[in-house]
Symmetry: C2
Subunit: 350 residues, 2 copies
Amino acid sequence: MQDNDSIQRQGAGSDGHVRIPMAELQALLQRIFERHGTSEDVAAILARNVAEAQRDGADSHGVFRMPGYVSTLASGWVDGHAVPVVTDAAPSFISVDARNGFAHPAHQAARALLLEKVRAQGIALLAIHDSHHFAALWPDVEPYAQQGLVALTFVNSMACVVPHGGKRALFGTNPIAFAAPRADAEPLVFDLATSAMAHGDIQIAAREGRQLPPGHGVDRDGNPTCDPQAMLDGGALLPFGGHKGSALSMMVELLAAALTGGNFSFDFSWDKHPGAQTPRTGQLLIVIDPAKGAGANFAQRAEALVRAMRDAGQTRLPGDRRYQRRRESLASGVALSDADMTMLRQLAGD
Amino acid sequence: MQDNDSIQRQGAGSDGHVRIPMAELQALLQRIFERHGTSEDVAAILARNVAEAQRDGADSHGVFRMPGYVSTLASGWVDGHAVPVVTDAAPSFISVDARNGFAHPAHQAARALLLEKVRAQGIALLAIHDSHHFAALWPDVEPYAQQGLVALTFVNSMACVVPHGGKRALFGTNPIAFAAPRADAEPLVFDLATSAMAHGDIQIAAREGRQLPPGHGVDRDGNPTCDPQAMLDGGALLPFGGHKGSALSMMVELLAAALTGGNFSFDFSWDKHPGAQTPRTGQLLIVIDPAKGAGANFAQRAEALVRAMRDAGQTRLPGDRRYQRRRESLASGVALSDADMTMLRQLAGD
């Protein structure tokens, strides 16, 4: 109730939006996760992740995902109480069994050990398997760059992308995220699906009835289509950038699944769990300490690269739009549509 | 002379080609490198690299590159006698100063230590700086996969790619290469420029007077062009896949240059060294031992992925064409055009 009061004090925007303080959004999301079958620890981690995506304007991975989380938990497909098992496999290699839980608690359980290893060894790897990753990927790497480290991560998802030259969906949208520190500004961070479009964006386009440009996907017969609903109804996405994006997507399957011991994107089926939406796969993180090498002034070099990119006419850097939205959200509250706010209240049982 | 006799015994093809045994091609190339200013050790490493590219049908990085190597050595821009300095920077981090020499001898000088670290630590990193990489990138990673390891490498080059949304060339063609072992076949290997086309292929298209499809580059005024010569004459290439390829190219600058201590692609100029063609930059290699984690059966998993890709209709895998050409070359000799053979003989002073 207190949450709702606060929300209303922020006032509804003239365009059917409200703004809600970040902490209250997190608390509301945490109540929803706990109410729908996660432990308190898992709820806190996922609530923060979803709230951060919403805060940064990553609409396809913000509160938009909550019904998917809830229906997945209700289906029994994922264990919201799973306690990950961390194995110190080698001096620079950590393996985590997520025990059919979400990827983020598994990552969190190994984070301190990973940081210790990176600082000592120069590079370290975190391999998570039997995990469900249903979120944006940039929040997994940005914190490392905030600490002066370089981070790279790969996660595979569910079969919805046709390999280049192929006829049937096999790869996931298989994103790659990268973060690097800058001396005088927020880190350089990107998060890119190796599909022509992120799955969440296809879903949003379908919901809004928008057509997509050519080259994004095929229908159930394998024919090119611009209709996002046809891609979702038995059709599939295409990789970005033709054979190159397809090769990168293959690499993500090998790194996030084969190397971690997780499922490939085509290795599992949730047919017997109606409502389940999360892929049960794996995730790989590689974190590097640039202070160890001849590139000890890494953050200054990154700053020089940014200046050169601006001088060459690149007006928007990867991450710029997110940081802008983040500043607005922290100053004025996180924007939510009235419809999303209603949905969250229903999920919270308010 | 012996070389020439052997070559002639192979007989000229009806299409103006000869076939030459791999060992003889390597010996001929080694003589050329030594004659034009490299040490015997450097010559052996580069000759093998160029011969392997030619053997595998990688025309833009085979003997086609020899005049560029020779004119670069003649210009004094690169030190063909450089002895790289290897620093054991941390348990999983090796730094190599190539001392303004080629990247391959620097890599070779650290290879044994890198393998030792990977087997002990699970993952290790090799950061090379002040190096000249003028070759295909896949030969740098394939040998690790032949030994059951997973390898990833990044190298930046010279400013010839306009960042997405920018107006001037800044990034190099900045390739990424990846190799992973398979249980029952040659490794899965790809090597992709993050530009819309590799620089060598642009040069070949220009030489042959071919126009390129739209979306590959701009002319000196920043306008889109399909003329490869206009891209080379003050114009520039575009990244592959729009903003995603551009983000990956930025990542390559950060990993191969900022992290290693090497030059960015825009950090150097060879203006005072007429004939010089090699970029003086850096290279990063990351090698992983999959046996350390829960993915210990990596090569079998990779095999399963390949079967699934074939079942999904992907008829050609990354590397397939190279392996096919390699088999032909090892059986019948490496194919060279008559013009290339003449060029090599001239460079060798035969």
